[in-house]
């Protein structure tokens, strides 16, 4: 499947696995692919995203807090305040000891039961290949078509990005909307950036 992928685009597919694993997820979704692309700021098309003020950190935070609903949520913050607990302060201290996102990453606790592809669950959780979700597969298929449409004979990070900006929606698109970016507008930005680079 990945024969025509550029080295950078392959790297996105590999890093998406790492992102999923780090978040304790047993699937690779569109959100993990998008995050993985963001970790390569020099790859084609990515500048169009970062120019919108989106970083891997802000995307990850929004995905966890607002879209996927991690175990410690923003509404928990209000509830804990009634007990005199400042969740931001707790988070600050935990991250000082255990690194960024430590409080929000919850292995095996993130809505596993609500996932329809539960049967594909990776049992060792550490080394195995984590399956792509149907939406992630769809994004990769779209990446092929985007490359064809642009008459490119390779699949690069730019095509993967365009593939992820699926008008029918996926978690990455949902996260972008929460960050105030419409997928259509971002698609135009990416195409403009490519036009300029060509």
């Amino acid at each position: 499947m990945f024969e025509r992928f550029t080295r950078e685009a392959r790297e996105v597919a590999v890093r998406a696995q790492t992102e999923a694993r780090a978040l304790g997820h047993n699937y690779v979704g569109a959100e993990h692919l998008f995050l993985a692309a963001l970790t390569q700021p020099d790859a084609p098309g990515v500048t169009a995203v970062t120019r919108r003020g989106i970083s891997a950190a802000s995307f990850r935070r929004t995905a966890i807090h607002e879209v996927l609903g991690g175990p410690v949520s923003p509404t928990d913050s209000e509830a804990l305040r009634t007990l005199g607990i400042d969740l931001d302060e707790v988070r600050r201290r935990v991250e000082a000891s255990f690194g960024p996102g430590a409080l929000d990453i919850s292995p095996g606790q993130i809505r596993r039961s609500s996932l329809p592809w539960r049967r594909n669950r990776c049992t060792d959780g550490l080394t195995g290949h984590i399956p792509f979700t149907p939406r992630a597969k769809r994004a990769l298929e779209r990446a092929f078509r985007e490359a064809q449409a642009l008459q490119d004979n390779y699949i690069g990070v730019e095509h993967v990005l365009l593939g992820l900006l699926d008008p029918e929606g996926n978690v990455a698109v949902e996260v972008l909307r929460r960050l105030g970016v419409e997928p259509d507008a971002l698609r135009d930005d990416v195409l403009t950036e490519l036009g300029r680079a060509a």
Binding site: P71, S77, A79, T82, L103, S106
Partner: protein
């Protein structure tokens, strides 16, 4: 002024919706912190027995809960 604020806060906290929501949030926070600390202890070479003892539960309980991660 402070008295009025305190009274308002106490009244709010007696609201079961607020109180129960706070307990649930506290539990989630505690669970997350426990997972972090157990992982950290394992990385430091602690046995399940030592971890269970520190948490005040049996080694079987702590292993059953955290051993598969």
């Amino acid at each position: 002024m402070t008295e009025a604020t305190d009274a308002a806060e106490a009244a709010t906290n007696r609201d079961p919706r607020v109180g129960l929501r706070a307990v649930a949030a506290l539990r989630r926070l505690a669970e997350r912190l426990e997972a972090l600390q157990v992982d950290n202890a394992r990385r430091h070479g602690w046995s399940w027995e030592q971890i269970g003892s520190a948490l005040g539960v049996s080694k079987q309980a702590v292993h059953k809960k955290h051993g598969r991660r």
